[in-house]
Amino acid sequence: MNAYRDKYAQVFNDGRKVVLIAISADVDTALASWARDADYPVLFGSDTGSAVGKAYGAYNAQYKLDNRNLFVVAPDGKIAYRATPFREIDPTSYTDLGAAISKLMPADSTAR
């Protein structure tokens, strides 16, 4: 998650018109305390039981956790991009992700 935090302004447009939801099988209190300690500016979702992971095909039955899969949901509710798995520590992952997000952004939304 550190890389997400550090790339937040650049890739996620500082949260304007782009919502990043980080999802794991952790309970919400564990996610909140971790987010506080590491100052993560993103929204976390607690997928205990992995219903969401299963719905998206991110569930890892062997470890009973969600795999590091990433999906970009377009404003129309359809999946516009996916990285399965998303290589969080690889800088090129963010180039591809940033390009996918930019394509979905209104032209003027990146202006400060």
């Binding site: 996620f12 018109k17 782009v18 919502v19 990043l20 939801i21 980080a22 999802i23 794991s24 099988a25 952790d26 309970v27 919400d28 209190t29 564990a30 996610l31 909140a32 971790w34 987010a35 506080r36 993103v42 929204l43 976390f44 979702g45 607690s46 997928d47 219903a51 969401v52 992971g53 299963k54 719905a55 998206y56 095909g57 991110a58 569930y59 890892n60 039955a61 062997q62 470890y63 956790l65 969600d66 795999n67 590091r68 899969n69 990433l70 999906f71 970009v72 949901v73 377009a74 404003p75 509710g77 359809k78 999946i79 516009a80 996916r82 399965t84 998303f86 969080e88 520590i89 997000i101």
Partner: protein, 71 residues
Amino acid sequence: MTLVLAALMQQPAAPPAPPPGPAALEVGAVAPDFAIPGATRYGTLKNPVRLSDYKGKTVVLAFFFKARTKG
């Protein structure tokens, strides 16, 4: 010889193990809605996080293994 080479070239250098569990949703699929407990750096949320609350916005869903792990 050509056949052997052709066969070799079709083999990936390190075949990735198939992920256990269902296949990931494809691009173009409708993203399934969900409502799950949410949290931010300011604490847990009173209301569940719903994908449908963000209709009209771009949403990035980043699944990850576990809190307080690297990566």
